[in-house]
Subunit: 361 residues, 4 copies
């Protein structure tokens, strides 16, 4: 009898999820004669046993589609909202896994998913994960699929703002996603030629920002573009204990509203300090949407097929990390619970400073 | 001696301004041997006599550029901020016009610019205007350049939001520009397949919106996309006297912040009424940026060259309106002070309703 | 019992077909309680009775999709290749129409489709057509859906060629579609700032082209971009009887190969006459692909819903023409067999000349 | 006195050249107080001493521009066409280098440029190179800037062809650049989901291709998309001595015409063997044009600033290779004359086969 592989997508959605599902699924079916069973809406679908068979037809034509055909959720096996309560549903999930006689469960997700996957591994399930997130904050992998696409979208946005900024005397603030890290804002800011880039790894001093804007203004440059990571904080706030810490980890509405308020406050602050009008663009979920970039499709396909090879070899309990042109299995224990921040001596930080970008410190 | 044509761009910037400058300028120079003098930053540059000669070289390569190489401002000749005061500078402007011995002054702008242009016409100056704005609210013209580009950008944004919205159970609210009218939101909402479209011309009832969202939810549709014009108002607010009316007409920071707050409040209101998470995207100046669409470049070139023909014929005091495949001069008196709202019986309103879009009423 | 509407898409595919199917279908179902039956692959599917029910689910999510979910073909009812022979299958088609008790048959297509539709109308069937084609050559309508999208794609291509052309001393020839007319080449050439635009309506003299290139070269401009319509002909060839006339009307491989050879020959001819290297880009089916532009989606939706209104009113035997912001039924007799060429005094021709474009004559 | 750095761009142009010039130039000026002198049109400008000072103003606003502001050529110092002859102009070039008292000469180019740079190094000049090419065939570097952009363009083209291919029963052949290697065709083919990918590294058997197309056809798939590298050869031709070898290395018109003929012949061959219509798209210089992708801008900026650091440290005679997130100097001797082919056991080759792609063997 052919082996049955389970698969789910969890956490915030990310371009490339469908490409990865297709890469894993098609290769499992065609190259090894396995069968593939999708669970809907992340770990919740595994708990509720809501499934969809992923055959060649279901996997056809999804390479270029944004989102995930399986749906996703931020639910965690051990803290699942059920009937108004938060319950540990790991037992149920394990039971469903066993009832399906799964050979392995593939979990596509970001940092949170790695933690959940590790818990299931510790229950003895055969788990493999793929690193997806637009934030690029998963440890032990060169990169994650979704990041390049989001980078392209945010960069294109900054390009557009540039062309309109030239026409007026203004500060334009654009809020870029990235959760607790600055990869997306640094990348898009650098690629888009933002004058100021604010990232969580380097708390900023708003007075220095205002000075940088005014210096540009004095040298005849009519505008300044500020790319700010949603997680960026000022030096004053950086010292404070984060009373919203829990919000941060679940991407809730309350958190998003609060972050956006930060950005609006930054814009108003700069306006006050410089006397220049400011305008705000909140990219929001734009950065998660649309067809994945070519690079992300290739990465997702590459990791998806490598995952199938690992399943075939019986290598479980690992994340399939991107490594150079290829991939490498990394133990979940080495990934879970870690966040890949930007090192302050990263080449891109140096590049940004060398071309004259203000990083707020 | 060859005739000298003055030109300026005023109001909010709009894709296609450079294409129009090029069309007008190149044809004036090449076809009629005229010379072209640009004034910087709208009417302010005319007052301060800050000029740039627009020769073949300056006009080359700008067809595809967003923004305006002349710069723009929202200053009005008769209410110009000078040294902390608001002064009527029409005399100075007229003097500069006469000192340059201009054959004509071409003003590229939206509704506000038409009014300012009419005032100068009434002083006896030879004025021609071109209708530019992303809002499409200029009267007596089929359309305005900038609109098609902004429509494309806003539609692409809704497309992207669609692909991510599918993956989660959510309401996504996207704020679209448009000033006091709904052309941009209606167009982009229809083109993007938004489930709900809110425009100033049709005040909305938030309870009906919540009902529409819940109805979709009950029928198994996981998400709803709401395209809201920045000027849209609820039925309750529609009755109130608008104490911010003046803000509206100058596109100031205060106004923009207030409008965005409206959108955030709408999102939170829907969240509360439906129990579904909501996310907000504020496109902001994205909609003014980037290369103009092919259609806008053609329109701008067409109106720009038609403008040169009119100057050559000595036809002044008119706006060059887009009419079918061609153009038509319309007296400034018939344009100034009017706003092109969407008629409630417009074919697009009917189309939107027929394909099941909720318009909030 | 609810009315049943048949629908098919015929001729070369065009962006916006799915948007039109959705607009027509959703409004028929939701606004009037009709049912919709699709026939596959144009008139062939009607002959072979290959159908697909178009319900709300089938029509959902297709607004942004290129191509046509129904498939298409260039088959004509009265000249259908069947079992190696060309047969008149109009009787069979009429029979199928009657067996389904169709209230009306909606045919989405270009010039050829209008002719086929008229033949069926003359048999007494209730026919309505929508004008689709990237060529914009359908008579009696302001425009056709598909054209704006193809225009955008071809323009973007010319934009890209511009940026690379600047770097080398070269002639770049780009072949644009358009069948027997020059709308697409003229539009994209104008929007992309091509230096030379060649259209079927104006036969060209290659010596004049070479002169224009050399003149640019002498004035320090390193490159020339030539946008050539696939149907453009030189003055010498224009006089000759077209022995390939039949190819032209069916878009066959032989025809396409021949046209492309024309373009390659033009490039080599220019190379020889000017001594400058030339490069060729053949856009080919790129111009038919991808998501429809916002304007095309709106147009297709608008015509689709207007079509439903006409069906409801019992108005048959017409094409739903685009007219200003709205639409208008035009008798098929006034459309069939006519081609909308560019009039030589068209505003765009004048615009092109005024900004210095060489049209080859 | 401040150090003077010379810079030139050579070979075929590539997106990201301006971003690299900006990264190198801005950091040289701002971080180390150096001055920068550009030579026009590659080594030819160095020979003819045609220069442009690259100050802050010249380097501003070019980050997003395709092409190269310096111009480029394929001329080689030791084989320079001068007055109808091919001469060794290395002495003149060396003399100009010395007369300008250059601290170093930065050469941005592909494989050919590395060879030319090495020759100048052997004359004792301080040379540093950056690896640029859309072909990704430079040895000893992870990747080259230009490649990601071209990959994106070719992938988008395949996406578009997909949507139209669905509508007809057809073979669509798209010719992708790549010179003698298959990186671009493999990448774009994989990302675009091409059914068949033909690369120079794997000579193909046209009968196997036809079989693959017919197999798809029998299983109900209406179309096949073939992504063919311009350098791909059939097994029969692979054995033959390449009488055009010299063409290959200089990207001449004759070579390009010949390659395109190969593609047309392939299309006709498939048509004959399968009985299905085929259509051809030749992307040509589209793949070199337009704004560089975000990833290419970041890469180019990163390598450009790293180059400045190396100049500052007095490290010459090297290419600045991309290595992981950073960069690494590699001796020119290790790079020049080598071509980075795709290894037949490359992860992407395996991925392609695992998802069912036909590679023609």
């Amino acid at each position: 009898m052919s082996k049955l592989i389970g698969v789910l997508t969890a956490g915030g959605d990310s371009p490339g999820l469908n490409a990865a599902l297709r890469g894993m699924g098609k290769s499992a079916i065609d190259a090894f004669g396995m069968q593939v069973l999708g669970f809907r809406d992340g770990f919740r679908g595994l708990m509720e046993n809501r499934t969809i068979r992923l055959g060649s037809m279901e996997l056809s034509g999804i390479l270029t589609m944004g989102g995930t055909i399986l749906g996703t959720s931020r639910d965690k096996p051990h803290r699942m909202p059920v009937g108004g309560k938060i319950l540990d549903m790991t037992d149920v999930i394990e039971e469903n896994y066993r009832n399906h006689h799964l050979e392995a469960l593939v979990c596509l997700g970001g940092g949170g998913t790695q933690k959940n996957a590790l818990r299931l591994k510790e229950r003895g399930l055969n788990i493999i994960t793929l690193p997806k997130t637009i934030d690029n904050d998963v440890a032990m992998t060169d990169t994650t699929f979704g990041f390049d696409t989001a980078l392209g979208i945010a960069t294109e946005a900054i390009d557009r703002l540039h062309s309109t900024a030239h026409s007026h005397h203004r500060i334009i603030v654009v809020e870029v996603m990235g959760h607790r890290v600055g990869w997306l804002a640094l990348g898009a800011g650098l690629a888009g030629g933002a004058d100021i880039i604010l990232i969580p790894e380097i708390p900023y001093d708003i007075n220095l920002l205002a000075e940088a804007v005014l210096k540009r203004s004095r040298s005849g440059k009519r505008f300044s573009i500020v790319a700010v990571a949603e997680g960026a904080v000022s030096k004053q706030d950086a010292g404070k204990p984060d009373k919203h810490k829990d919000d941060q980890s679940d991407g809730s509405t309350k958190q998003k509203t609060r972050l956006t308020s930060n950005t609006m406050r930054l814009a108003r602050g700069l306006e006050k300090l410089t006397g220049l009008e400011s305008r705000v663009t909140i990219l929001g979920h734009l950065q998660r949407g649309g067809a994945p970039s070519a690079a992300d499709r290739i990465l997702a396909t590459r990791l998806g097929t490598a995952c199938t090879d690992l399943i075939n070899e019986g290598r479980f309990g690992v994340m399939v990390a991107a490594r150079g042109d290829g991939s490498e299995p990394v133990l979940l224990e080495e990934v879970a619970g870690k966040v890949k921040f930007i090192p302050v001596d990263h080449p891109l930080i140096r590049s940004a400073r060398m071309v004259g970008t203000c990083l707020g410190d």
